[in-house]
Subunit: 479 residues, 2 copies
């Protein structure tokens, strides 16, 4: 661990270098890296490798995979503890409407949050998660430039396919198991403060499966098969769009919230005693209003008054979500056609003890049983399994201690509603993990994604976030 | 009426001018005129006016409306009978995928049809209905250049908003009622042979209503309201997409073919005795296989063996068709989002004695009664009412006689499944109408729309179609 004086030295370095750090962060954000659209991936991998070197990593490799490269780096630290730090350098696409500033312009703007005024960088990936990637490297850079080494050894693994379901990460980890087994724990840096400043710590992630359902006249053998025909044909022809609508409606309750697929919830484990304690504790301080404000929604599925149940939903509900649906004439005006095909993108989030590999077969079986054998199902992403870590794990306790030194114990959640491929490290290397940090960012996958760089009393700015990361490594080196 | 010698003179002229006629047809086709997208409308109106003049019309006007102009022309004929010829110079959009030749290239290609080899022009509007427009003007041109006048007076009314539901045509007709009341009947030229050469005559058209349903978090007050949020939110947020799916499913039977909206079929009149006779006669010669071949479908909603019922469906079924549906992430890959809105385009075809103005209120009432008051409904087109004409009408009998002189009595259908705004002339001017001709074209609203110009023994080529149109005018002048 660092002495208090060493921490002071690093903090001072961070203070001096903060403009440079904002610069490197903006540079990384502005480099496109949309894995869905295969835009800028190689350039971004090269930039990340350069950032590793600039931050003082001894060993840097751009490892080719069957898909996008993985950028690996090593940095010797001040203790024999080794942290595997997982990053993703890919992002969601950035070409949707609704951006108030250029999606790739990394503009620094004034922003008014429930916690007060801040300065934030608006850019795709600022929240998810090139912002945290750059910030962590800034903290390592500061360690190397001041004390000469970080508090612990770090192995850096940055993949470029997280948004594709990390298909090649397990392969890479298995192949490099010997080297990566030096790690005692895994860490995923991100900014975990709510817009009101509330600091949260997630003990896990949900798994995710993503696929498309396609109904077409061709595979059905009814209705138009080769092209959309004149809509007068509806009088004597079947419609693939109506068919998909009726197939979909069998999959959920009328409100769209309860999944009616046989066996869907069978493996869902009830919250453990520890989970319930965590939920009960969290419900004391969690403010549903703030969560709604961030998403700009008027109401949750259930009343706000039942905070514990809301937290239980967010953390324990396995969901079937329509991400997108399209078919036929979707432009302006009235083209009167009977479409020959329609497609629907669906994601399922899996929770303990569901298995992601079980989910598509369950949906397939459901469709078959309801007479929809012709509806095609295509996996879009290879998906993740869920992953959990006990609050008692030393690496989690190190995270909590670091949090306490920056403003008290964080609100602990059994899991995030999102998905990160921790199961890869957890199941292949058998190591525990933790995630998060301080600071605030939001709007992952949405327009106007942002990260706070200039903070206030309630929300950490970039320099405090970096200091926190150094503190966390130091606490971890003690475990 | 023309004498046989005059007919001979015109036919000879058509034979000499056929290359020029193909040229003017291609020129008109290649001029974009997509009313949905407001592309090329004014240029096309000017070109149609020029074609009127070139064909020998005495009076030509481009009449402004609140929307696209109407091109009016008059040509004095050989009798005191006056035919109002209705055209549309607008087309559907032409930018969908699937074209094997440029959608606006008017390429002349070899084509193999069930009736044998032909030469066809492939272009948006070739079938629907700039091809027939040009062809009719060619026939008038030939009359004026040979005999000196057509067999009857013609009033030409070409509108540029048919694909928008002809919102300004009724206004125009009311405003010009005095002048247009000279007409004894109305005619809509098109190529009415099937791909096997079967000649058909439609005694009417269905009406049509076109609207959008939109479900959004904003109007619902549940789920995401301002943007698509991260799909982890599905755990505690409602989904506008699921809502629309469940709203839609209430509107039809599980197979999508029977409309379940209360009152939807209430006003549907059963076929009359005359209708049943026409159907029974038509069923003797109509070949379902040919119709399926043209649309490239494997099967109709009901077995082919029940020909009468198939014809009854096509002519008497009131339909609720989804033309398009879209929401959320509809591009490549897996953006995991919970969409904040979803839209669906729907057309309803109305038959005797439904009223198009009743249909949207019925849908609205249905949605309200099922608890979907928040789902927005927007009229996209002003729509048409249905229109029918007895087979006994003199103008229809003239059409049948003209057909007989070109290869026997046509197959008569009580109505087309499509929609043309004849109700405007029928109800405002109180005149009967007929439609069609010989020749073949197909794929209205679809890629690779075409019209045959070089025919064979079974399918008329352009010169025969033009001769037919002259013959029809001549027969009509006798009535």
């Amino acid at each position: 661990m660092y002495s208090e004086q060493e921490l002071e030295t690093v903090h001072s370095r961070i203070g001096k270098d903060i403009s440079k750090h904002i610069g490197t962060t903006r540079k990384l954000l502005m480099q496109p890296s949309s894995s869905q659209q295969d835009i800028g991936i190689d350039k971004c991998a090269a930039l990340v490798a350069k950032m590793y070197k600039d931050a003082g990593c001894e060993k840097v490799e751009i490892a080719e995979t069957k898909g996008n490269p993985i950028v690996y780096g090593e940095c010797k630290g001040d203790s024999d503890k080794t942290l595997l730090v997982y990053f993703m350098y890919d992002t969601m696409p950035f070409n949707e409407p609704g951006w108030n500033h250029p999606a790739m312009g990394a503009k620094i703007v004034d922003m008014k949050l429930p916690a007060g005024k801040v300065k934030a960088i608006v850019n795709r990936g600022a929240d998810n998660t090139k912002g945290p990637l750059a910030t962590f490297l800034n903290s390592v850079d500061a360690c190397n430039r001041s004390v000469g080494r970080p508090p612990c050894n770090v192995l850096l693994v940055a993949e470029g396919e997280e948004e594709l379901g990390s298909p090649n990460l397990p392969v890479y980890v298995k192949k490099n198991k010997k080297r990566l087994s030096d790690a005692d724990a895994c860490y995923f840096p991100y900014f975990a403060q709510d817009p009101d400043g509330c600091r949260t710590l997630m003990l896990g992630v949900k798994g995710v499966v993503y696929f498309e359902l396609k109904c077409s006249g061709k595979s059905w053998g009814r209705g138009p098969e080769d092209f959309a025909v004149h809509s007068s044909g509806k009088a004597w022809l079947d419609s693939p769009v109506w068919r998909l609508v009726h197939a979909l409606k069998t999959m959920t309750s009328d409100d769209g919230n309860r999944v009616l697929i046989d066996g869907f919830y069978d493996d869902v484990a009830p919250p453990t005693q520890e989970d319930e304690e965590v939920i009960s504790e969290t419900a004391k301080t969690w403010d549903p209003k703030m969560a709604k404000k961030a998403m700009k929604v008027s109401r949750f599925m259930i009343p706000d008054t039942d905070r514990e149940e809301l937290i239980r939903l967010y953390t324990f509900a396995s969901t079937l979500n329509i991400d997108g649906i399209w078919g036929g004439w979707i432009e302006k005006g009235s083209k009167t056609v009977l479409p020959h095909k329609v497609t629907c993108k669906i994601d399922i989030r899996v929770v303990p003890n569901q298995k992601k590999d079980d989910m598509m077969p369950l949906v397939r079986k459901h469709l078959d049983m309801h007479g929809y054998k012709d509806i095609k199902m295509t996996e879009v992403d290879s998906g993740y399994d869920w992953c959990r870590c006990s609050v008692k794990e030393p690496v989690v306790q190190a995270m909590i201690r670091a949090q306490e030194s920056f403003g008290g114990r964080p609100q602990v959640w059994p899991t995030s509603g999102g998905s990160v491929p921790f199961y890869v490290f957890n199941r292949i290397l058998g190591i525990p993990f933790t995630m998060g940090g301080i600071g605030h960012s939001d709007l992952a996958h949405s327009p106007n994604e942002y990260m706070v760089v200039g903070g206030n009393k309630k929300i950490a700015g970039l320099s405090d976030i970096e200091k926190f990361m150094v503190r966390f490594m130091s606490e971890y080196s003690l475990t």
